[in-house]
């Protein structure tokens, strides 16, 4: 450990730490544009210059390592003047199109201008004319006028994806980031470029001109679209109730997690968020008019519990089938195991997940569900559901998860279900198989509930709700604790589960895998 002084405040950091990192640790932010923790320092933006006692010139905070006894000044006049100078240079050639720039509101250039001066422009020459709308690949648009040449994008493609589609062309004031002819940015991680661009130079057509960043709220979550479990931030518009503008998710960004995804997420996780906005099953649907139940959870729960108890007491548990999926959290799968395996001894438990897809050697795995590993650790044998297995004569079929529609066509599924007396569907989304069920009950998504997931490497990660689920939706863990209590087989066990954490604590008690710190 070495002791240094930042703005006369003593700071102890490890040897080899840079001034920027040491300052961050103390909550002192040093402005920087080209520096990104994912890459070695570049030193080209010159925003992070600081004064070090005894040195004639200002030094870079991003690359200069601390030495014992070093005295660093980050807010003295000389430093502030130098930052203003750099900022003035950057803004001289920068277009004044913040009002139509997607980055406005979370642009570092805007923030620093706000912090260092709000000076009037002294630039009275003609600005360089550059390409404003250059399609550089997939959904990315590059605005050369806004670009400050921090080269984060170039370095990302060189060091992370190693695809090197972007480079700097020309030199001096004519320098510009661009692709080589006929070779647009095309890799699984291209969306990260718009996120790491500190200004609005690279924007994403998926987000471009759709909303303003200051309208958006954001929440941390875990990406459920493959078994990697990358940390993400969901940015959504909360909606205007007065004008009947509903809540809408606009963007998924990656969130730093060095143990799982570093700083990045794949394009599937970034752009595959339409399921959060579209086709939600919001209300309880009672298709079978012959049943005398109310469209409330209490009524449905009483009906399901009675059905299960009858089967159990008459020894006909083999007459029921349960279909699960691995988008369910560890806690939910634990409760399913408790109720249906341990309390009711159901044999026919199947799983239906979204079909496998492409994978790569970085983050993306072939599975399209986040918790396969968790289901295995809890003790499930992940048997896929087949039409043949479902076609057997049965009294009750409980299906959790909307993924069956991806597996089964409507006519075959209808045919398979003709020997089943009561069919209940717990789903987050409307799909064409809904009408084949007697009861369709809406469920919450991962972004709308709490719990934990176990990723492909066995890392257990907690998540919390980002926003509320719509109308009648219930989280599966709530459904199960309620059902567990109503069944009456082991009511006291389920009674204590008021939160997912409570379930988690019990799960840790019972299953050693979840007990260990991972």
């Amino acid at each position: 450990m070495v002791k240094i002084f930042i703005d006369e405040k003593p700071v102890e950091v490890e040897e080899g730490t840079t001034i920027l990192k040491a300052a961050e640790k103390e909550g002192i932010s040093i402005p920087h544009l080209c520096y990104h923790s994912a890459f070695p320092p570049e030193g080209s933006c010159r925003m992070c210059l600081v004064e070090i006692e005894g040195l004639p010139k200002l030094e870079l905070a991003c690359s200069t390592q601390v030495r014992d006894g070093m005295k660093v000044f980050t807010k003295c006049e000389k430093v502030v003047e130098a930052r203003k100078g750099v900022l003035e240079f950057l803004l001289a050639e920068h277009p004044l199109d913040c009002p139509i720039c997607d980055k406005a509101g979370n642009c570092k250039l805007q923030d620093y201008y706000d912090e260092y001066g709000l000076f009037e422009s002294q630039f009275r020459e003609n600005k360089e004319k550059r390409e404003k709308k250059d399609a550089i690949g997939k959904s990315l648009i590059h605005d050369e006028e806004r670009c400050i040449l921090c080269r984060r994008c170039v370095r990302f493609l060189r060091e992370v994806t190693k695809t090197q589609e972007l480079g700097v062309f020309e030199r001096g004031i004519h320098s510009r980031v661009n692709i080589c002819d006929f070779a647009p940015v095309d890799n699984n991680y291209s969306g990260n470029l718009a996120q790491i661009c500190p200004v609005g130079a690279i924007t994403d057509t998926d987000f471009r001109f759709k909303t303003r960043s200051w309208f958006l709220k954001s929440g941390d979550s875990i990406c459920p679209l493959c078994s990697r479990g990358c940390s993400i931030t969901i940015e959504y518009h909360p909606g205007f109730y007065r004008f009947e503008v509903p809540k809408k998710v606009y963007r998924i960004n990656s969130r730093e997690n060095q143990e799982v995804n570093g700083f990045w997420i794949c394009d599937l996780g970034r752009y595959g968020y339409s399921y959060l906005n579209e086709n939600r099953q919001e209300k309880i649907a009672l298709t079978n008019k012959k049943m005398s139940i109310e469209p409330t959870w209490e009524s449905v729960r009483a009906f399901v519990a009675e059905k299960l108890n009858t089967l159990n007491s008459t020894g006909k548990m083999s007459q029921m089938a349960l279909v699960l999926n691995t988008w369910l959290s560890n806690e939910e799968l634990f409760l399913f195991h408790k109720i249906f395996r341990e309390d009711l001894h159901v044999e026919k438990i199947f799983f239906v997940d979204p079909p496998q897809g492409e994978s790569d050697d970085f983050l993306l795995t072939p599975e399209r569900s986040p918790n396969r590993r968790g289901a295995q650790e809890i003790g499930f044998d992940i048997k896929p559901a087949s039409l043949k297995a479902l076609a057997a004569k049965a009294d009750l079929l409980l299906v959790f998860g909307s993924f069956i529609s991806g597996h089964f066509g409507s006519p075959e599924f209808k045919d398979a279900l003709k020997n089943t007396e009561t069919k209940i569907f717990f789903t987050s989304h409307v799909n064409e198989l809904n009408s084949l069920f007697d009861i369709v009950f809406p469920t919450a998504l991962i972004a709308e509930k709490g719990g934990s997931l176990t990723n492909v490497d066995g890392k257990v990660q907690k998540f919390a709700p980002v926003f509320e689920p719509p109308d009648d939706c219930h989280s599966e863990w709530q459904i199960l604790t309620d059902l567990g209590q109503t069944l009456g087989i082991n009511s006291s066990f389920y009674k204590e589960f008021k939160t997912p954490e409570a379930v988690s604590n019990k799960m840790k008690e019972e299953i050693p895998f979840f007990r260990e710190e991972k």
Partner: protein, 411 residues
Amino acid sequence: MADQVLTQHFGLENFYKIDEYVKKGGYEAVGKALQMKPEEILEEVKKANLRGRGGAGFPAGIKWGFVPKVDKPKYLCINADEGEPGTFKDRYIMSHNPHMLLEGIIITSFCVDIHTAFIYIRGEYEAIALRLEEAISGAYDKGFLGKNIMNSGFALDVFVHRGAGAYICGEETALLESLEGKRGNPRLKPPFPASVGLFQCPTVINNVETISNVPQIILNGADWFVKKGLPKDGGTRIFGVSGMVEKPGIYELPIGTSLKDIINKYAGGVKKGKKLKAVIPGGMSAPVLKADEIDIPMDFDSLVDAESMLGSAAIIVIDTGTSMLDVLKTVTKFYSHESCGQCTPCRIGTSWINKIVKRMIEGKGSKKDIDEIVRLASNILGNTLCPLGDAAAMPILSITKKFRKELESHL
């Protein structure tokens, strides 16, 4: 002239050919050096106070001493990019006396335990590059290069690498990037090339003239060399005099020769009918000296005291017939054109200043513009990634300071 070290044989016919060179005592220095211990060579060069001829004037012996003794390949890069405007000395050495450079390369490599050397030559010097190739192949044939140099067991390969025409590639780390086949952008220092250089290996980078002095130091000793120049700044310099003089050209003179003498005695004085207005003493990035400031010894320290620099010892003479606004335009145009564009102050600052000067030339300038140029150049100075920013800011600041009245008169 008895003082000549590097240029003494320049007039001889076919001296660039290896047979002629050997006849005149060529490669004796290599023979002598290979009998010495590397530490002895290093000691001799350190004692000779041989300072870098490229511009910065860093002592060569000390630079070599920085190379760590690690189990990695080490490289020698000869900076023959010669891009500083006004500088044309290295081309003379390489075309008239290429073997002297090769001798210097062999001795330096032997001293620092290097087995691969590169001569990074500017792209425009095509004929000179061919001459170097010829010299190198001659040296291989005679056993001065290759696996077992003069039966000493020492091995060295030398390659010529041609640049593609960027001023920035004369900056040593940009040169390394270019040599590695990348875009010629300067690297962040530290680490310095002596520890992490070409292909991430320890690398010595020296100017052509610096290395060409090494054989004479070995042959005649450090004391002889120091006596040629000044105690802290040994040897001679090849002064390249250009601009408004009667006899422009290169003049090899002892370090510390007066600038006034170089212009008046050797270069034949200012062109007839005109008077001296200003001198740029060390390549275009050196701050300008006024006519009454030229009574000054041409060595690194004296010019630093005069708030200028010796740089590459390229003397550009400006007479009363030349407008300082035109000089300013030439300077700003050059640096804004040659800025690599990597760091903010240099990329945008040089272009901004150039735009203002262009406007002034068009007759649309005001006194406020001169203040603006000073302010912007001050914001570049000391705040850039590599010395190009300083090289641009220094002449701009000195011209606006020393010739402000004249500049105002043009508005």
